[in-house]
Symmetry: C2
Subunit: 180 residues, 2 copies
């Protein structure tokens, strides 16, 4: 039993990813057409500050043209093809929050949408923040907002935080900080 890709072609290309059209042979011999976003991957950042009142995370309020609304999410950014994930994380943190970090701790990787994309997200906890901004993309409208970790954990669990990568990043951070 297998699904075999018998043909694959690029049908559209964007700055950072391409749409591939696949012909797939199913176990019963039928050939079906499927679209796949061929994606270089991206990083998700959890920039934290330890305050006397507790840990806070630098979140973004970002306008998403796909949704027609501004959403609350962790800083994140698409990797260049072949770029090292950690270098990408360092660059995106400066572009999106205006800070560099002394340390980046991996919080694992996730596939956001394996049904239609090969995108892989690498998550990093970023600590020891210092102002060091880098110009961002012209098509990004973002505002940085510091929020307490316990509030974000509650929002991730009760559904108020609706961005999947942010739910994963916030909850993994909470567990990591319990042990470190």
């Amino acid at each position: 039993m297998s699904l075999k890709v018998v043909a694959q072609k690029e049908v559209w290309t964007a700055d950072s990813w391409q749409l591939h059209e696949l012909q797939i042979e199913t176990p019963n011999g039928q050939v079906v057409t499927k679209g796949m976003v061929n994606h270089p991957g991206a990083v998700v950042l959890v920039p934290i500050r330890r305050r006397e009142t507790g840990v806070e995370i630098l979140m973004l309020q970002q306008y998403r043209v796909t949704l027609g609304q501004t959403i609350l999410e962790l800083p994140a950014g698409t990797r260049e093809w072949g770029e090292d994930f950690l270098l990408c994380a360092q660059r995106e943190l400066r572009e999106e929050t205006g800070f560099r970090a002394d340390s980046f701790t991996p919080l694992g990787q996730v596939w956001p949408a394996p049904g239609l994309s090969n995108e892989l997200l690498a998550l990093y906890l970023a600590e020891g923040l210092h102002p060091d901004p880098l110009d961002g993309d012209v098509d990004e409208l973002i505002e940085v907002v510091a929020m307490p970790l316990p509030e974000l954990v509650a929002m991730a669990q009760d559904g108020r935080l609706q961005d999947a990568k942010s739910v994963v990043g916030v909850l993994r951070t909470a567990v990591y900080l319990q042990h470190n």
Copy 2:
């Protein structure tokens, strides 16, 4: 400050979603091209059984042609355009696991990939399972595997569970069951 969609056209269509090409005017007046997956949304199911040894979740081992590998994930399925999310959840549970459920409890919604898609995932806890299979899609290769909730929570937290929607579903289920 805004990002304004000044043109939008469909450039490719699959069975369940389409690729739209957007022309977006940025705050400085520049027009940039962007691709968007126009998606009907999907459901994610957390089918649970309460055993003497504790709660277990029916997970899938599913071959993902996008990744060229079999991954561990929660049952999930794409909605028909206009289909009620709950009806979709009831259908997909039977198709993917062979069970119907007495009750479906909403566990919130998430956007899996708001940078490139408008897909919304609606998560449901499914309880009271009874055999009642429905034929699935020809291009799906899946195997149902029951796993203990505590093991899945550990995997969601330490990075072994790599499917984002499944991390969200498992961790929200753990919190829900602590209070119900």
